[in-house]
Symmetry: C2
Subunit: 201 residues, 2 copies
């Protein structure tokens, strides 16, 4: 360890440390978005963030764990879905959830990192594992816990499948006429399906 | 051109030619599946097929056109969906189409090339363009032409979105509980949704 690194590590204040951690995360998100999971390395992230690779490992662990931390932030808006789900009338849960998810995809700021996650998860098993953990444990399980029905998790996942499929065709592969369709028209058709998966007898 | 190449081109019989063309296509499918679109080259396909790259260009044109020819064959089972759609009672069209599409994904022989197509289309714009053309013109438009309803293409695409989402979560990213769910239980839940998209007023 150089004198500078040792000094940094020894005297880093809480604020400096949080700043560095956030900078690494932000750079990691950028690198994963630009290059995809496979071509991104901890060394590359460290270099772009102007820190030692050991510091990246210190904060986050392996490349898979850096990826998980980076996409958890990108995923954060979607992880509020169970709250959107919980509020208001049960008869409108399909529309609330549908509107919430399309809201994330329609906004370029939240869409770009999601696109990066989907692209990585489709092509790399480690990235897929991270995606699975986040979707299964944080999203489906939490939504399912609010349903008082048998097969609640399967119901939540089939509702998610309708939304995932729309996102794939509208935002990822971009197949017409869904790309140009008015989003309110799409929500009007999709919300009852999501509602049906979640609450139909 | 060498004497041999000139002799080959001059005297190739129809059978020899079809055999070579098929061998190139089969090798191309293999290469695109193994390496993905971006890492596959016409030169690599030619080498693996034991032919001159010029012959690959002669038969198929650009790399994008080789890809299109290769995936058209992989896509062929799905392209029969409009026929599956047309036969039998209109009240059961949702179940027929759902059963047909899951039949392709449940069979490893037809699943593997489809996985390769999806992975390529998600990550590469040229591959996405090919996917779009095939899905839009050959699948959605043909199904829509059999629906006597406004927004027929949007209806067909939203039905496709439910199936695409299920395929993503069950076969590509592999999120439980959908991965282990009994396929008949999945079809029982998805078929009415597909039916609804296609035929509900």
């Amino acid at each position: 360890m150089t004198d500078t690194a040792s000094r940094r590590r020894g005297r880093r204040t809480r604020t400096e440390s949080a700043g560095t951690r956030d900078r690494i995360l932000s750079v990691a998100r950028e690198e994963f978005s630009q290059r995809g999971y496979e071509k991104t390395s901890v060394r590359g992230i460290a270099k772009a963030a102007g820190v030692d690779p050991a510091l990246v490992h210190h904060y986050f662990g392996t490349k898979e764990q850096v990826f998980e931390a980076a996409i958890e932030v990108a995923f954060a808006p979607a992880l509020n879905a169970p709250e959107a789900f919980a509020e208001g009338s049960p008869a409108e849960v399909g529309e609330r959830l549908t509107r919430f998810i399309f809201g994330i995809w329609e906004n370029p700021t939240t869409r770009t990192p999601l696109l990066a996650i989907v692209r990585s998860a489709v092509n790399n098993e480690a990235a897929a594992a991270v995606f699975r953990r986040l979707v299964a444990s944080q999203l489906l399980r939490r939504i399912a816990s609010q349903l008082d029905l048998p097969d609640a998790e399967l119901r939540a996942e089939l509702a998610a499948a309708q939304l995932v499929g729309c996102a794939m065709l509208r935002y990822v592969i971009k197949v017409e006429p869904l790309v140009s369709a008015d989003i309110e028209q799409v929500i009007a058709r999709v919300a009852p399906v999501v509602q049906g998966h979640l609450t139909s007898p």
